[in-house]
């Protein structure tokens, strides 16, 4: 069991999504923050600075949870993946995997929160297709990883 059970965390996340629409007239999504950071790195005008503040908030929230609940050793060591791989391999994989996440999310115009939570809640057709596709792909690839590693992952 986790410090915050799913039936508390889920509905509250739904309320954050809803509040972002209700107060700011915007859809929430973490990917947008990264897009702003990339614009900044490319010395382009950063149009939505609030999105960077949102990401800073997510970081602070993670810090708050760690301060209040502590960080389980399993989480700190990256779970089974960390168990199986030494740091050099793990870091390489995380960087490459992160690259896929960023590239793919930018291409489809959202991520787990932008498409998966906001877009689906708003019944946006593009988000519904994107979410169904990345869910099915992730499940298929995970099952494949499970087979390749002989059940270790």
């Amino acid at each position: 069991m986790f410090p915050i059970p799913w039936y508390v965390a889920g509905p509250l996340m739904g309320l954050v999504v809803l509040a972002t629409y209700a107060v700011m007239n915007r859809s929430l999504g973490a990917l947008g923050s990264y897009a702003q950071i990339v614009d900044f790195l490319r010395r382009k005008p950063v149009k939505e600075i609030w999105r960077i503040w949102y990401l800073v908030g997510v970081i602070l929230g993670g810090a708050g949870a760690a301060w209040l609940f502590g960080v389980p050793a399993e989480v700190a060591s990256y779970g089974k993946l960390g168990e199986l791989l030494g740091n050099p391999a793990l870091l390489t994989l995380l960087l490459l995997g992160g690259g896929c996440i960023g590239f793919g999310a930018r291409w489809m115009g959202g991520c787990t929160s932008g498409h998966g939570l906001c877009g689906v809640s708003a019944r946006s057709p593009g988000s519904l297709v994107a979410t169904a596709t990345f869910m099915m792909t992730a499940i298929a690839v995970t099952l494949l990883i499970h087979e390749i590693t002989g059940g270790l992952l």
Partner: protein, 135 residues
């Protein structure tokens, strides 16, 4: 707007971390269809937000900061398939995503920063190589 989004982000990150979504095993077992936590969280979040958005639109909600509520909806495009496949591969490999990695960094787990760096690079490569210069 800055302060409010900082606040919303803080709540969101706190919930992600507290609900166990930073745990690789939870996400991985979810994608192996052996642990329902992730789907229960996403499902209940969507249920609450969907009803709320429907009500706000029905009663022609006026937002305090940005006028009349206008919920953006996007039509289906090939990019929603291609991008999602690549995203899904990354999600399966890392058990991580753009918000979770940020919450991880906040929790003092350096791996979160590595995933974030990968995401920044991925977005950067897409913007430089694929996206039209004008965007």
């Amino acid at each position: 707007m800055k302060t409010i989004s900082l606040g919303f982000g803080t709540v969101f990150g706190f919930l992600l971390a507290g609900a166990g979504l930073m745990n690789y095993n939870v996400i991985h077992e979810g994608l192996l269809l052996r642990n329902a936590t992730m789907f229960l969280i996403m499902g209940s979040a969507v249920a609450v937000a969907a009803v709320g958005i429907w009500l706000l639109e029905r009663f022609r909600w006026v937002t305090p900061l940005q006028g009349m509520l206008k919920v953006k909806r996007i039509s289906i495009n090939k990019k929603h398939i291609y991008g999602a496949v690549i995203f899904g591969i990354g999600w399966a490999i890392t058990g991580n995503c753009p918000a979770v990695s940020a919450a991880m960094l906040g929790s003092g787990i350096g791996y979160g920063a590595v995933v974030m760096a990968g995401i920044v690079l991925g977005v950067l490569i897409f913007d430089i190589k694929i996206r039209k210069r004008s965007v």
